[in-house]
């Protein structure tokens, strides 16, 4: 404003008011550009550092993979509003989930898996993908039975709650029967999650009766491993083609095993729960009941 009044430094007498004004202009532009870029850079870096989804936050059904989701979601909360069970929540500043984006925490409240998926219909940007029309195809996360030491079924009890509440029961969670080596006469029915059916709704984690859930639902990127793309499972290929693709292999005897698997060839698949067999034979074979109680069969899961 007052460029004209204030003469330039006496040393440089050649400096005209015009060039002083120009210098001031360049200074102010540089300051504005510097300040502006610095703020934007700060926001960018902060967003980058905060863009990792924490382990306990699950996205609504149909959510794009996390990086695409963060590009698409405008944080309007329409999905939150249209959720009939008030399950979704918008992240607050300071939460570990990207500011303003929708998520839910399975242990607090799990997705009810509405058949018409209203949250996806509400999304104006496609952050929740409308390609998802069957809620059973939703992949919000993946359950994992993380704590084998406290899971009651692993202790040999019949809790089964996670299995019973699973909306995709017998597909997403099955109970796998295994011999209980501790008592040696009981079965353990182990809840087992199958990734090709688990929607990640969170019901199992929500309902786990323990003070801290033994089964937890994580974002898929955290919970799921992946085989290298070129891997082929020999037994599947064999079944598909009606024979080994690499011809018959030399069969070597297995050494170092005593018990039921001894003497079997290495290429033969050993199915673990062959234990119930004696029980079936029990009535016909009188030898079986004679086994003294508490004798360890040496079978380990």
């Amino acid at each position: 404003m007052d460029t004209g009044k204030k003469p330039a430094r006496k040393v440089t007498e050649a400096v005209s008011p015009a060039s002083a004004a120009r210098r001031k202009f360049i200074n102010s532009v540089a300051a504005a550009a510097g300040g502006g870029c610095l703020l934007a850079l700060g926001a960018g870096l902060y967003s980058k550092s905060a863009s990792a989804l924490p382990a306990q936050a699950l996205r609504p059904p149909g959510a794009l993979p996390e990086p695409d989701f963060l590009a698409a979601c405008v944080r309007c909360g329409l999905c939150v509003r249209d959720c009939p069970y008030d399950i979704l929540k918008l992240s607050d500043l300071g939460d570990t989930v990207a500011t303003g984006t929708p998520y839910f925490t399975a242990r607090k409240i799990a997705c009810e898996m509405c058949e018409d998926i209203p949250c996806v219909k509400a999304c104006p940007t496609g952050a929740l993908d409308r390609e998802l029309t069957d809620i059973n195809q939703a992949r919000m996360g993946l359950a994992a039975l993380v704590d084998h030491e406290s899971c009651l079924n692993f202790l040999g009890l019949r809790c089964d709650v996670c299995y019973r509440v699973c909306p995709v029961i017998d597909k997403a969670i099955t109970l796998e029967t295994q011999h209980n080596p501790r008592s040696d006469r009981h079965a353990m029915l182990l809840p087992t999650v199958h990734s090709d059916h688990c929607t990640g709704c969170g019901k199992c984690e929500k309902s786990c009766v323990l003070p801290e859930a033994a089964i937890k639902v994580f974002p898929r990127a955290l919970a799921q491993g992946a085989l290298p793309a070129h891997y082929r499972k020999g037994w599947e290929e064999k079944a598909r083609h009606g024979g080994s693709l690499i011809g018959e292999q030399v069969e070597l005897p297995v050494r170092g095993f005593e018990g039921p698997t001894a003497g079997r060839s290495a290429t033969e698949t050993v199915l673990a729960p062959s234990a119930p067999a004696p029980a079936v034979q029990a009535p016909s074979a009188p030898a079986a009941p004679k086994t003294p109680p508490g004798v360890n069969s040496h079978w380990k899961p």
Binding site: M1, D2, S28, V29, A31, A32, A33, G35, G36, C37, L39, A40, L41, A43, G44, Y46, S47, K48, A50, S51, P67, D68, L70, A71, A72, C73, V74, R75, C76, G77, L78, V80, R81, D82, L90, D92, L93, G94, D95, A98, T99, G100, A122, C123, P124, T125, G126, R130
Partner: protein, 290 residues
């Protein structure tokens, strides 16, 4: 831009005809009503089960039919490479056309909730006579606007939305969150102690974006009665963008009495405070001047 210390005229100006409270606060009351009603339209649903508008200023659905989306947010989304559904595109087009017609920064003074906070800071600053601080260059906001788009393109995410005080505050009010209040408190203190009108007038990229839409605005404030001006400076003191007044009021570089600068937020505060009733709200083609 240097801050010019502006003396505040004593309340009872000698000789001025007494004006009623409505005459002195009319546009302020109308603006606050508008801001409040927009907020209530979003809050009537969660509070009373009466759903008028769902969502927030980023994107919303009114009465189940009218989609509205912030065009700046859409621009950032496009910068990340994501093409949203037609609902968001239509919504942004409607908002864009509205502000192109009526004046971009009408958003700032009639809709944006942060405006209430920065107005309060400016009022407190005037009242407390605080003159401290340093105001950043008013062009910083345009660099910041460009920066937000570049940040979106580079990170592939809506980077600015992590910290954008405008959407943070509105979302916090509607969905009930506390974290945003720290940012809003920060802006209040910044405007109060560091820079007069620092946030809205110099930094906010959302305001900068809407300012760019204001070049063709139909609704304008004019100074048709500029002959009556007694240089009391009340309008300059209260205006959030004081530089826009001079061309119209003092015929600097223009004959028209219209305030044509797109920085003008059309808040009408100058109309309220002027005892001589120099200003009025009018349309772009009203060149009348007494």
């Amino acid at each position: 831009m240097a801050t010019i210390p502006i003396p505040i005229k004593p309340a009872a100006a000698a000789g001025a005809p007494a004006r009623s409270l409505w005459q002195r606060q009319r546009w302020l009351i109308l603006r606050r009503t508008s801001q409040l009603l927009i907020l209530l339209a979003f809050l009537s649903g969660p509070w009373f089960g009466l759903w008028i508008a769902k969502g927030n200023l980023s994107s919303s659905l009114t009465l189940g039919v009218l989609p509205l989306t912030d065009p700046l947010l859409l621009l950032q989304t496009l910068a990340t490479g994501h093409v949203p559904y037609s609902a968001a595109l239509t919504g942004a087009a409607i908002v864009l056309v509205f502000y192109l017609l009526f004046g971009g920064r009408i958003f700032c003074s009639w809709v944006c909730p942060v405006n209430v906070v920065t107005d309060a800071a400016a009022w407190s600053r005037r009242r407390l006579g605080i003159k401290t601080g340093r105001v950043p260059d008013a062009n910083t906001r345009y660099w910041l606007l460009g920066g937000t788009l570049v940040a979106s393109a580079l990170t592939g995410a809506l980077a600015w939305e992590w910290v954008n005080p405008v959407s943070l505050f509105h979302r916090a009010l509607i969905f009930g969150m506390g974290g945003a209040m720290f940012v809003i408190g920060g802006i209040f203190l910044y405007d109060l102690l560091v820079a007069s009108r620092g946030w809205c007038g110099h930094l906010c990229p959302v305001g900068a974006f809407y300012g760019l839409l204001g070049k063709t605005a139909l609704v304008r404030v004019a100074a048709p009665n500029r002959k009556a001006c007694d240089d009391c400076m009340d309008c300059f003191a209260v205006c959030p963008e004081p530089q826009v007044i001079r061309p119209a009021l003092k015929k600097v570089g223009q004959e028209s009495p219209l305030i044509l600068a797109s920085d003008c937020t059309t808040c009408g505060r100058c109309i309220d405070v002027c005892d001589k009733q120099v200003f009025k709200m009018t349309h772009r083609f009203d060149q009348r001047s007494e």
